[in-house]
Subunit: 668 residues, 3 copies
């Protein structure tokens, strides 16, 4: 990338009248230098089977080229035409025997050969036309691809083949690994394999989810191959990954393995939506960006993020600027708002863009202009920031799936994986410690001082031994409860828990209980004057060599709850219960103190400081005030505040207005 990209999704096809010249003019006034187009209007480009009409697409491309605007073109496959649904209803995805009705996007069976045939044809036509444009800088393949729960007969057949290959046809071993004798679920002939839709076997359900995620990866590889046949060397391929959605981007995406799926991409793109107004904290965009950056250990693109969005997200003055630079501070080279103009019909009418339905300038657009000016001015200093983290999270789709199933309800509770991940992540975030986010197959442990492992419930032996070795050689690991419990087939290990890693942890347990009113009992002074209420889950730890940092207060007072252990040259911490936010923040502070990890600027949320090294080798420090209050920060460095372009000195007291940002370029 040569410049920071500042963009919007632009839906010329949705406009009630042609105002492209005015739109481009207003974009350019706002410093917008890239638009994303094309990803959801297949029926406009191919109005009938085999009849193509790309005039609207080329019209936009020509206009943008003439105006010197960059374009990212999306393949239009995530929403398909009415004629295709009418002709081949089987392209509609089936969930547990129910075919979805036509209407929404993302309702196709991504494995359907018919769907693939038609999708490939439209992609090839679009590529042939668009790849020639100089201003097309890249392609987004499909959009927010997931497997949509596809479980039709052909998927079931594919899954049986997959298992059969994996086991070289050894049914006995398969039955054994998956524990299928239980409730007479044993499969004694491949032909008997039932649909997985009704399964109550956690191993089978987990493997099927993994298989479904593989289908997503395969689908993206297939699209990337097609696009690669056409695109030029200087055009990139990206995708728009999204995250677990709880009305906003909450955590790790359950239905896609980002780490595997991103291999076919040149650069990672994500969409991030998050609470705003009083609820803006920056945590969501931060974790999402940390993950995106970690996937390829390179800068990433924000393909979508909110402008006005919903009535409860419409930014307060200052917030649009703040959140846009927060992305840059996290390692983004592009920030694209979704979307330019608000839509006048249909589903997302009140998911508003930069412009309201009246297309007139408005306070949010006016703030975007300030962003655009600074993007342009500061681009050389802020692009391609190198970000170094001494801490990494290990996240895992298989563990997420396994701990989210119904049959786990007597454990930590359904769908709590991301809650646990986020409570840990946010503690580091609020403490101003930068983190990477990787998975067991991509992480280079030795690269980090501290590894945080939330609920790695499912893991083969090898990775757990690797973690032990890493500690022995001087590494540090923070484990939560429900770590190392099962092997890769979601089969609980037959040894004392937490199994293989017990050695490094210096403690073990064989019982776990619901707290049922119990609290933590401080045994180390770390948790004084903190609300130690625990929730949902308490492992009754027995220390073998570990120091007990906290125990329980009543019926289980003989057991440990949080431990610390020296193992070889390194150390481990084990959090055996679902402790509240304060306890976890204290524990994180304690660990950082023990291994000499410093809070950036020594400050804490709501002041967030993020740093990176720019192409000139200078360190850039972004200081964000995520609050309604004016706040003073004492600078620990000399340099230049880039927004005001003013020199600053160590110990200067700089004032941040509500929702303010300062950008310091250090002077070394």
């Amino acid at each position: 990338m040569k410049q920071l990209l500042y963009g919007v999704a632009y839906y010329f096809e949705y406009l009630p009248y042609d105002r492209i010249n005015k739109d481009i003019e207003m974009m350019q006034i706002a410093g917008i230098n890239v638009v994303r187009i094309g990803e959801s209007t297949w029926s406009t480009y191919e109005p009938q089977d085999g009849q193509f009409n790309f005039s609207k697409l080329t019209y936009v491309l020509d206009k943008m080229q003439a105006a010197g605007m960059n374009v990212i073109v999306g393949t239009p496959t995530y929403a398909f035409p009415t004629w295709l649904a009418k002709k081949y209803p089987e392209v509609l995805v089936e969930n547990d025997g129910q075919r979805k009705p036509y209407g929404a996007r993302q309702i196709m069976d991504i494995t359907s050969p018919i769907y693939r045939y038609y999708a490939e044809r439209i992609i090839r036509h679009m590529m042939a036309i668009t790849a020639k444009y100089d201003n097309v800088i890249g392609y987004q393949i499909d959009n927010e691809t997931k497997h949509y729960g596809t479980s039709s007969e052909n998927v079931q057949r594919g899954f049986v083949e997959y298992i059969k290959n994996k086991y070289n046809g050894d049914l006995d071993q398969f039955n054994y690994d998956f524990g299928l004798d239980y409730w007479s679920n044993r499969i004694n002939a491949w032909e008997d394999f039932p649909s997985v839709s009704g399964t109550i076997n956690g191993s089978l359900a987990g493997e099927f989810s993994k298989y479904q995620r593989q289908l997503v990866t395969d689908y993206l590889i297939w699209q990337a191959r097609i696009v690669n046949e056409y695109k030029h060397r200087n055009q990139f391929i990206t995708h728009n990954f999204d995250f677990e959605w709880r009305g906003f981007s909450y955590g790790i995406q359950p239905n896609v393995n980002h780490f595997a799926a991103a291999k076919c991409l040149d650069v990672v793109g994500i969409d991030v939506y998050h609470p705003a107004q009083r609820q803006l904290t920056g945590a969501e965009l931060s974790f999402a960006g940390d993950e995106a950056r970690s996937i390829k250990m390179q800068n990433y693109l924000v393909m979508e993020t909110q402008a006005q969005a919903f009535k409860n997200w419409t930014p307060y003055p200052g917030q649009l600027y703040q959140m846009t630079f927060s992305h840059v501070a996290t390692g983004a080279n592009m920030v694209e708002y979704w979307h330019w103009h608000s839509i006048h019909n249909s589903f997302e009418t009140y998911w508003k863009g930069l412009l309201s339905h009246d297309f007139a300038p408005n306070p949010v657009y006016n703030e975007a202009k300030k962003v655009g000016q600074d993007f342009q001015r500061l681009s050389p200093k802020l692009i391609n920031l190198k970000i170094n983290s001494r801490v990494a999270f290990v996240v895992d789709n298989e563990s997420l799936t396994a701990t989210s199933s119904n049959w786990m309800e007597f454990g930590i509770g359904k769908d709590k994986y991301n809650d646990v991940f986020r409570r840990l992540y946010d503690a580091f975030y609020r403490h101003n410690i930068r983190t990477d986010i990787l998975n067991p197959s991509t992480i280079d442990l030795d690269h980090y001082d501290l590894i945080v492992v939330p609920m790695l419930y499912v893991s083969d032996d090898a990775f757990l031994w690797k973690l032990n070795t890493y500690v022995q050689n001087g590494g540090h690991v923070l484990y939560t409860f429900k770590n190392g419990v099962t092997d890769q087939h979601v089969k609980v290990r037959t040894c004392q828990q937490p199994g293989i890693i017990s050695e490094a942890i210096g403690a073990h347990y064989e019982m776990f209980v619901d707290p049922n009113g119990e609290k933590l009992a401080d045994r180390s002074g770390i948790f004084k004057r903190v609300d130690t209420t625990i929730d949902q889950w308490a492992e009754l730890l027995v220390s073998d060599s570990a120091k007990v940092l906290a125990g329980y207060d009543n019926h289980w007072k003989d057991y440990a709850a949080i431990t610390e252990n020296r193992f070889g040259q390194g150390m481990t911490w084990y959090l055996g219960c679902w402790a509240n936010v304060e306890v976890i923040e204290r524990l994180v502070e304690h660990i950082c103190h023990r291994i000499d990890l410093q809070s950036n600027y020594g400050v804490h949320f709501p002041i967030i400081v993020k740093s990176g090294i720019n192409e000139f080798g200078h360190q850039i420090d972004f200081i964000f005030n995520y609050s309604d209050q004016v706040t003073i920060v004492k600078l620990p460095v000399n340099g230049t505040e880039l927004r005001a372009n003013q020199p600053v000195k160590e110990n200067d007291q700089i004032k941040l207005s509500p929702w303010d940002v300062k950008i310091i370029e250090r002077q070394e």
Copy 2:
């Protein structure tokens, strides 16, 4: 009508033994002079296909005739026989591809030609027999007809034809108006038109709802035509309309356009059910009656209302009398309880009638006797009351549907139309200002001093211009938020909001937010000492010429929330946020004060006063005490209190017991 009708639904067919003579005797003791029969026992009258047996019907008719009792006969089509369901399962309605099972009533596909054939045959047989009875005073066609969500293939085909005709086959215009390029929903050939069941397009869903309401209108026209072939000149046709049901009659009926559907009727009939005991306020029966009266600007019939009903509605002493006369005060010429006797089997066992399961006199029946005596005695003075309202509400099915859809969830919230309507309606009701209720196609604006327009979200340009002209010529309009937003295709206007009516309002907005803790800030003294918390929705109004009555208190303090504007000879008020009850009551009082609308008797809920002019040209004032407290009311008039038949004078202090009613005939 020559006399006030006082009646019950009478289900001879459901009785465990023949006690008709005793029933008629007890009815007559209670002054009951009409029964409604026949509307749900098709299987008794036609036990097998083509075998008719109306002996139970004629038995009842003969008995009633002999006793001098009036009868309203219902066509029996809303519940159909087992043999029909067995022979032609396709008469069962389909919702989104699921056919309803046999069992309940109102499960037929009202568009099914097979259903129509059988329904027509039974109606013709019944008419041939019953029209000859002198005591049959009228017919109710079907019962509480709705479309039951019918969306089977033939309905989908009908809808496509409807669109095709509407657009003279112009697909491009249709795609444009409905915004179908969005998410590749574009329809490029009529043959491609997908089932609307899965649509995410608000315009399409809205149009389909409108089409479904048209099916209801068509169905009633079809029945009215048949009945008209047989009935005598002095027999009327009515229907039993119901309202949005939230466990009771809450608001405008979403699935029927009462104004259109009533055109084929001679007189409007409604059913009304409402909270009672401590929760009795009279508001539900009042709004329902106001609407019923407005449809044809004439007196209406209460076809059904509660007697003992449910355990939580069983009236306290006095309440049955009070609610029955409340109907009369609202313009009803008939009040029929549902129903005479409680049912011993099946679904509505605990929806009790005037009699309990033991058929014995009971406290509620005993109170009905008092009602009956006064109905009889006062009938000449209370029948055919003329009611004049200076205020009218404009309600609209299309706006209701559009604001109730899922894709509006980021607006005011799903299904809030009637909440907004009712909060406004109730403010006028509690303030003792009488209102009419009409829709854009039926209202004569010039007839009123004040028009209240809650959330007319969908409207063509013409009606909005008409409202502007009305104001310019001296009219007054109170608008709420979300007015004038979209055109008749639910396409958001591309101008500043609230679009066309902005001119008369003297303010506009381009942004709206969730209050997220904001309150109103009083700017006029009207909202002092009132809880100004707002909920869900706040438009950030910018005044062009309007006076700001209230603004916001914090982040959005530069914007207006409630405005008042002089435009031409008239005035408008705009309520830009979902304000609480108190704020709305203050605003309504303020408006009434500004345009010189007086509270009846100058009193406020829980005292409700309703007036009308009787056939002698005398004004009748009904005074209701909707409370557990003894209350004193000072009379502003001379006349006669009709219950006690005692003269009263201006400034008399009359005492109302808990749940009491006084009826004053004014002396002019």
Copy 3:
């Protein structure tokens, strides 16, 4: 039975490796002398259609025999193989037209002839093999059998036949009894009988539920007949009945008539699961045991109860011992934990057994060892305890079903039957009064001093007259509201309520209301200083001869709420409203006082005392402390405390630790 049986469910087939020798060794250390095997591994024993392999079964049987361990063998029919589902999908149960997917257990259509064919074949094979083993002491047929909502076409046909036979083809009588004229549901030809799935007729729905329960009884009879062909005289047949499940065993099982279904069994077996930790009260295991014991008026078996179970049930120290002896004190001759080892895959991974997944001894296992030692030592004194109750509950599936249906929602509320039963049951339990639990067709009224009848909403006349006669002859009955309301067809009686029993009650009502804020008004001094808030339901009782114990406080102050009546030689009490726990406890105390029923030991919960007569004719008193507090109990008897084997004397103050148990053998 010759000895107390102490056992576990043992799933050798689920073990990750063969450790049977170690398992048996650990069992024997813990005093375990019986295992239950075989009930859920059909697919292991018949891996393909007609290919049998019982090697795992015989391996376990041989090992157990060699070790002198008893075995109960389960027929494996409640979970069936994949090949059967694949070959004959129609064996999967259909609910309202939806066939359940393969996966879980208990998903078969118990009426399917195909299912029956295959089930019979595997049972016969298993019986031929296992009946020869001396250590097989009995058989469990199927497991927790219910009807699973089976409502497929053949079941509908069977139901029509059943009705036809019952009515000797008299459709008119059937229509009359079931009130089918309502909403045109009348059936005028047997061929027209619609599927009951959509019915809104409470009589029809109630009869269908009864028919479904009959299917369960028939199914068990069918299995018992097969097993009887093979089993030896000294092998018993039992079943594992369960209860209404609300996350634990809450009340009467709605879907099985235990009293009818148990006729084909030699001994009654049950599973009981209940809250533990702070929430352990003993009430669930007590009611379940009282019912199980009453069915055949003999000792019963606990086939399943919890060991570690869920995180929120893991017993505190002492609780496993306490709950195991609670079963014995209630009349159990066997207590079997579910299960031996925790399962490593699939659905019930966190429904833990005596051993954790690591198979190592743990605190719960260690406590089981203490139980086992005392079982062994005290077996001669504690086995076959005779238990005499002077009080009996009458419970009724038909009333449960009728009061649980949707169309009852305006009554006491859906699914409240067991709440009412339990509130009454628990009052006696906490007051240390032993009760039997029977149904109208099994109870011998004259056997008891007091009959408690909660919500016998459905009853034929005969039983009600029998109750009247019982009272007349000196018996005592406590009735709740909603008694005697309908006949056996769920048709409300046409007399004043509560109908036939009014005579004995000396009061009647014709109206009932929601309390809507009303409280009880004490009229007798019994309910002083008690919270008399009432909920959901208040019958407005009019006393004919009864003494009013409580009335209502406000709008309904003329009516009685709780009455007491002398009738002939006996007395009745009628509780006309859904009173809170305290009121019911006071009422129960009052009644006990009136008829001279003494609390055992004169103590109250949390001290529970249960007594029985052992085979030596000595009375055994179990004293349980269901609390966290050390508690002193003053002994009213002389004897020996069997745990410590220490003599005790009248007036001794014995100390119970938290969750403690003392066992006194009285010296007469």
